[in-house]
Amino acid sequence: MKVRLTALVLVVVVIAVVALTTGDDPVPLATLFGGGDAADRLVVGMLRLPRLLAGLFVGAALGAGGAVFQSVSRNPLGSPDIVGFDIGAATSALLVLLVWHGSAVALGAVAGGVGTALLVYLLAMRRGVRGHRLILVGIGIAAMLSSVNAFVLTRADVTDAQSAAVWLTGSLNGREWTDIRPILLALPVLLPLALWLGRDLRMLELGDDTARALGVGAERTRLAAIVVGVGMTAVATACAGPVTFVALAAPQVARRLTRVTGPNVLPAALTGAALLTGADLAARRLLLPVGVLTGVFGGIYLAFLLRRAA
């Protein structure tokens, strides 16, 4: 396990270096260590570094959030979307952009996402939240909001709608230091919390009865996990929009790479970071938002892993 983790870290480092030194303006490696000329250092420091950090932190947050959700829901498809977070974030973002023509998109998105998650949790609540009830309510609310989104997109002017759709796919374009400050502050708090919860979540996977017999508070752990999971997804979405698929694929890929059971928060976070920053390298070349590529890369890689293990 340690070997694989180190390998993952190395992959991330390599991608980071490539991200910082290549692009329209190739920059010598020495720049990263303080050498090179001022113009190069500007490019790295003002443009590429914030974008890279955004990719790393958002990827890690999504990977860890996905791992937590999949563990809690005991379902490999578990993602914050079971509580309708992504779709709620999308709906409020669309409303902010296309209906109110405002600019606080990120804030609106997070508010919408959290609000939806709360709504789903409350609606599913009846003497504690049972697994399939949460999923059903989540599906219901998600579909409702999804149709609202489709509707809003048809009502707006086509150019406006198209640029709103860019945000919906998830993008790291033009992310600067001010954009990434929230996640730089929040993730170092939330990620350790998720790691902490990881142990209790491992016990929860044995079933509520066995977990309780071993001294784990089932409902309490579940709630804490959902809160932390939503929190991480929220800061990630505030930074990059609802990036497709990373939260779903990263934990699954991490599990197949490390072959360990349990939520595996750390490997999932590293995999998420690698996936997102790697996809962003291609996104910059192809001038597409990164969300397009995470879907394609993540989907293909997951399919490949499924095929191999069949």
Partner: protein, 323 residues
């Protein structure tokens, strides 16, 4: 008793269909509707009825029934009450193929990219079934992976081509409007084939519900039933989505409601699902026309808003038909 219920259902369906002919931007009284159906006299009302509303109503009937059948089949095949035909990647495949047709090949007319959508749905389903062959958990993951990849393809293409985006955003809502009779003519046979196959699977599905081992022991062939079932779902859902775009909920919620009346016997559950789903879809369409007069609210949106409270109520029922 159950046959009685079914007849009542069909009766309600006929009423709803007639209502669908009568309601719209211009309300036409039922008497006129009846008159025009029997003897076309070229009046303005007659034109509206014959060339707009009849095709629309028929399409709604066909698509509704198809989605209901597909949903019931899917839940029976996976023995999972939360299964929705979309997990096989049908919607994603249809969308990707449609967008490709519009954006890359310049096909503009719904009856044109219809065939692409159907092909796309079929290819996606085959891919997902192949990847997810060994277990239901794998199937679901495979569906998610393929849907994500295709979804990204759609996102990418629509962000690059405004034409494709414009056509896609209207397709993505799921609507019965603007679909000429040619669409029904093209998808009708496919839907019919799927429906016949579905109904024929009634008894094998009953046996499948008892589990693989018991099924084998009773001389059924679970493997074959499953393959045929997936073929039927692909035909039904693929054609329906190709014709009118993705419509959610109907496949997921209706079989649960149908089960309340028909019980778990698939030979009754399937026809009930078809009839109830058709009623739901047409009803939603009518509602959409009424609520947003003189414009209309697309049927895909109305079904979502009708379906969500239903699902939430179902979620709180004490005994859901869980495995």
């Amino acid at each position: 008793m159950r046959i009685g219920g079914l007849l009542v259902g069909v009766g309600v369906l006929v009423l709803v269909a007639l209502a669908s002919l009568a309601v719209g931007a211009k309300a036409i009284p039922p008497a006129t509707v009846w008159h025009e159906l029997l003897r076309y006299d070229g009046s303005a009302d007659g034109v509206v009825i014959r060339s707009l509303r009849v095709p629309r109503t028929l399409l709604g009937l066909a698509v509704g029934a198809a989605l209901g059948l597909a949903g019931a089949l899917m839940q029976a095949l996976t023995r999972n009450p939360l299964a929705d035909p979309g997990i096989l990647g049908v919607n994603a495949g249809a969308a990707a193929a449609s967008v490709a047709a519009i954006g890359l090949l310049g096909v503009a007319d719904p009856a044109g990219y219809l065939w692409f959508a159907l092909a796309g749905a079929a290819i996606a389903t085959v891919l997902v079934s192949a990847l997810g062959r060994s277990s239901p958990a794998r199937l679901v993951l495979a569906g998610a992976a393929v849907s994500a990849a295709l979804g990204s393809f759609v996102a990418g293409l629509t962000l690059v081509s405004q034409n494709a985006f414009d056509a896609y955003r209207f397709w993505a809502v799921g609507t019965l409007a603007g679909r000429p009779l040619s669409v029904l003519a093209a998808t009708g046979p496919v839907l019919l084939l799927g429906a016949v196959l579905a109904i024929a699977l009634g008894r094998p599905l009953n046996v499948l519900a008892l589990g693989e081992d018991t099924g084998h022991a009773l001389g059924a062939r679970p493997g074959r039933t499953r393959v045929l079932g997936i073929v039927a779902v692909t035909l039904l859902c693929g054609a329906a989505t190709a014709a009118v775009g993705p419509i959610g909920f109907v496949g997921l919620a209706v079989p649960h409601i149908a089960r309340l009346v028909a019980g778990p016997d698939q030979r009754w559950l399937l026809p009930y699902s078809a009839v109830l789903a058709a009623i739901l879809l047409l009803g939603a369409d009518i509602l959409g026309r009424v609520l947003a007069r003189p414009g209309e609210l697309q049927v895909g949106i109305v079904t979502a808003f009708l379906g969500a409270p239903i699902l939430i109520m179902l979620a709180h029922r004490r005994r859901l038909a869980v495995r």
